[in-house]
Every structure is written in C-alpha cells, then in structure tokens.
Symmetry: C2
Subunit: 149 residues, 2 copies
C-alpha cells in the first residue's frame, strides 16, 4: 500500500505542508515555523479539542520549540480567523443565576450583559446517545449576541 496524504473533510483538500502555508496566508498570517508546527498538530485530519497547555505539552513532546505565549497567540489568531472555534467550558468569571429552573441565556459579547431566555422560548431536542455509563448533569445553552454591524 502506498503512503497517502490524509484527506480533510472540512477543507476538501489534502493537508500537506504546502496547503498549510496556503491556509495561513489565506487568512492573512505569515507561515512561520511555529505556526506551521502548531498547524501540523491541529489540522492533520481528525477533529481535536485542545487547551493552550495541552498543545504546548504535545508540541514539546514532539520536539518542537514553541513558547507558551506563542501557543496562546496562535490559538487566538486561528480562532479569530475561523480556523478554530472556542468551546465554553470551565468558566473563570463565573456568573450565578438565582433562577435555578431550566432555562438558557443571551450573552451580549459587547457589554457582558446576561439575560434569561424564558424556558418555553427555546427547545433543545436532545436525542444524542450518551457515552456508556454516563448520565446528564446539566444542559447549558448560551446564545452569544452582539449589536447589529
């Protein structure tokens, strides 16, 4: 069997070093050694979830020399460029809600304001099968909003 490059279902193109360079240039970022290294870890076919630290550890283990600050920079730049997406987990500035009934929230990313979405105005038809032996602890829906243009 011949060695093949991996096919990426999201970008619809093979992920070689060259296309990674193109990908970075395409979003206005210079194809530096560090970004190529980071990109090679992130965009090699399968979908991944990483934190800055986990990625830094991984890069270090792979013998790549990249500072933690650069990892943070790159992750934020990739996210701004739409190459990554942030996942809301494990909040730092924690908001507490006196309404403990099942309901969800609008979060105004412009001014940080949080407002309730009445329980009956949103409907999560939650069919997904849970991983074996697991049960639901809670469901959070956050709709991030911002001022029109």
């Amino acid at each position: 069997m011949v060695t093949m490059e991996k096919f990426n279902a999201h970008t619809n193109q093979t992920e070689s070093h060259q296309t990674l360079t193109d990908k970075l240039r395409g979003v206005g970022l210079r194809a530096t050694r560090q970004r190529l290294d980071i990109g090679s870890l992130l965009f090699s076919g399968k979908d991944r979830h990483v934190t800055a630290e986990s990625l830094h550890d991984e890069a270090t283990a792979a013998g790549m020399k990249i500072s933690l600050a650069t990892i943070y920079n790159a992750l934020n730049q990739f996210t701004d460029a739409g190459l990554l997406r942030e996942v809301l987990v494990d909040p730092s500035r924690t908001y507490f809600d006196t309404n403990t009934s099942s309901h969800h929230h609008f979060f105004n990313i412009d001014n940080g304001h949080l407002t309730d979405i009445p329980h009956d105005e949103i409907n999560v038809s939650c069919l997904p099968t849970l991983p074996e032996g697991q049960i639901i602890d809670g469901v959070d829906v956050l709709i991030k909003i911002k001022p029109k243009s």
Copy 2:
C-alpha cells in the same frame, strides 16, 4: 396601599427574614449574618445574575461587612445546594475545537473530557426574539455528563 412582602414564584412563599433562615437551614447551612445578608440581596423576588465581585460591591454599597472570600464561599455553597445555578460564560480554561462547523459538546465533569455531539444529533429550535438591534454571534450547547452514580 399597604406594604406587602414580595411573593416569590420559585419558592411559592414570602421572602421574610424568617423564611430565609429556614431556606438556609433547609439545605444544611447555618443562618449566619453574612449568609442572611447575601441571601437578602439574592432572593428578594426577582431573578438575578451576579458575579462574586458584583455581589461584593453591592453588599459593600449596602453597608454590609462581608469579605470577598465569604462571598465566594456562600455562592458556591448556595450553588451546591441548588439555590443558585452557574451560567457558563467567559471561559478561563479555554478549549479550542478544530471542528468549526456548527455542533455542540458533551463535557465530562468527572475527568474534564470534551466530546463532540454530531450536528444532526441535537436540535435547538431557537425561536426567541432577540433584544432590539442585536444579532446572533454564536450558539453554544454544552451537555454536562458524569458517571452513573
């Protein structure tokens, strides 16, 4: 018009100092001056969203002497007891996802693992009317799971 105590739709009882004491005792917490003060700010009828800091500022402005550490303690204890609910916003340990398509997540609160929920396995019928002049920036659904008992 006679002064009336506020009626709380959630607890189905009037919110006097006495019922606040009961409320705290009911969840196994001593009715200390600080917790009563904090409770009087939180549970006086209307639903609220607060952070530890905002509540501390508010308490201080109201002439209450409560340390920030105590505010944190109380908010966490109230939350553990089900009197408050945490809202996921403004993450600190940020997770980045290489899958930028619209999809959501399972978060295993036991071991911190994050897994994708395929796009077609969850459905948010999102009817709510947005506040005037606002548009949607993104929707996050996080289903927190844990091991069966």
